[in-house]
């Protein structure tokens, strides 16, 4: 019997104005990144509530990445500055609870950075794959 290769499921929250366009550009340029990266488009990276991150893990994500405009370039002037503080605290708290820090990341990707988007996703998927399945923030009910 062939053993199914483990591929991590990754949820990427991408801001509408920069990172989602960046992902588009990566596609247009035929840059490859893992198909298991599921993109969720959000109006701004600061739309992402800490609960979104936790619920992504609950629903089976092995890694969660937030992508937004570079600091200073936010379409709404300051949204990503708030994201930066929130996620810094949330990630630190997750680490405090013993949840692997490599499972979460924030990356700033502009609309022109298709290559960075693809490279980021490849790198993140690789790091998450090395960790294996998310066991510490899993909800067994969703795994059956």
């Amino acid at each position: 019997m062939q053993v199914k290769e483990y591929k991590p499921l990754i949820v990427a929250f991408c801001c509408n104005w920069c990172s989602y366009a960046g992902a588009d550009l990566a596609g247009n340029n035929r840059l490859s990144y893992p198909a298991d990266v599921k993109i969720i488009r959000v109006p701004c990276s600061c739309r992402v509530n800490p609960m979104f991150v936790l619920r992504a893990f609950q629903r089976g994500a092995d890694g969660v990445i937030l992508c937004g405009c570079h600091p200073g370039d936010c379409h709404y002037t300051s949204g990503n500055y708030y994201t930066r503080r929130r996620m810094a605290l949330l990630f630190s708290m997750l680490d405090y609870l013993g949840i692997e820090k490599e499972r979460t990341r924030v990356e700033w990707v502009s609309a022109a950075e298709g290559a960075k988007f693809a490279a980021t996703m490849n790198d993140f998927a690789e790091k998450v794959a090395a960790l294996g399945e998310n066991k510490r923030l899993e909800d067994l009910r969703c795994k059956r």
Partner: protein
Amino acid sequence: MQKITRDQLIEKAASLLANGTVSCVLGWQKGEFDYDITPAVFDTEDELKANFVWNDFCGANFSKYLVSKTKKCEGKILVFLKACDTYSFNQLLTEHRFDREKVYAVGIPCEGMADIAKVKAIAGDGISSIDCSGEKMAVTTIYEDAPVMIDAKDVLAERCVNCKSKKHVAYDELMGEDGDVIDSARFDEVAKIEAMTPDERFAFWQNELSRCIRCNACRDICPACTCEKCVFDNPNSSVENKSPANSFEEKMFHIIRAFHVAGRCTDCGECSRVCPQHIPLHLLNRKFIKDIDSFYGDYQAGAEVGSRAPLVNYTTDDLEPGEVFERGDN
């Protein structure tokens, strides 16, 4: 033993009632035993004389009650605030949760409050009376004839052992002398957990949080949790759940509870005091406070009215979330 006496407080309250400054008093009401004290509203001097208490077990923080009581009480309400309570008081004012004009705040000195669990650990079960008026606490039980004498320092509640401030940051009138902000060791326990390996940290919290029965006492007592409708009570939020179905929900609830008060939590310690399962919830809140202090500069919620909380603020050169882990070896 507290420096200020019950009689002094009643006298103060009675005179303010008599001269019409206030129309009711928010205070501690005596219970069945000498330690089970209930927050209550007193309207007359007679009521105060009959039921008002002030002793080493008056730990309840009244600040949150002002949100509802100022709406109900006609005229001004007198509230006695210990130094730590004044921080919550300011924080609620900052968030416009009650009308300052309707409150007459009297700051009172506090020598630290006792934890009944610690008293019982020394004196044993079956407590029939506790006398806090002497140098030492005299605890009488039905099993021993002579009272057990306890040094109040040995039974201080955790939050009082690590008291962060004896300074009152808000009051209309102060009884006794004001103290200072204390350079306490309150982050030591957090640092100890940070120094563990991730596996140890995971095991530690998994064990602590597994005891949660989701009674919501930590949330309901919290002076920073004043939402009219909590996200966890909203059936449309899809995270509403009345009991912890599994370890994920335990973690989710406690991470989010602590996160929602991050930057606003004054570290009053009520959450840990009321937890029926003795989960050290303050260690979650303090982690956020410690992080905020080290990432964005020292900040004490409630130290002044109107200050901008760290999570509704930013600077352009803030630390990146990825850099969090590069600081230190954790």
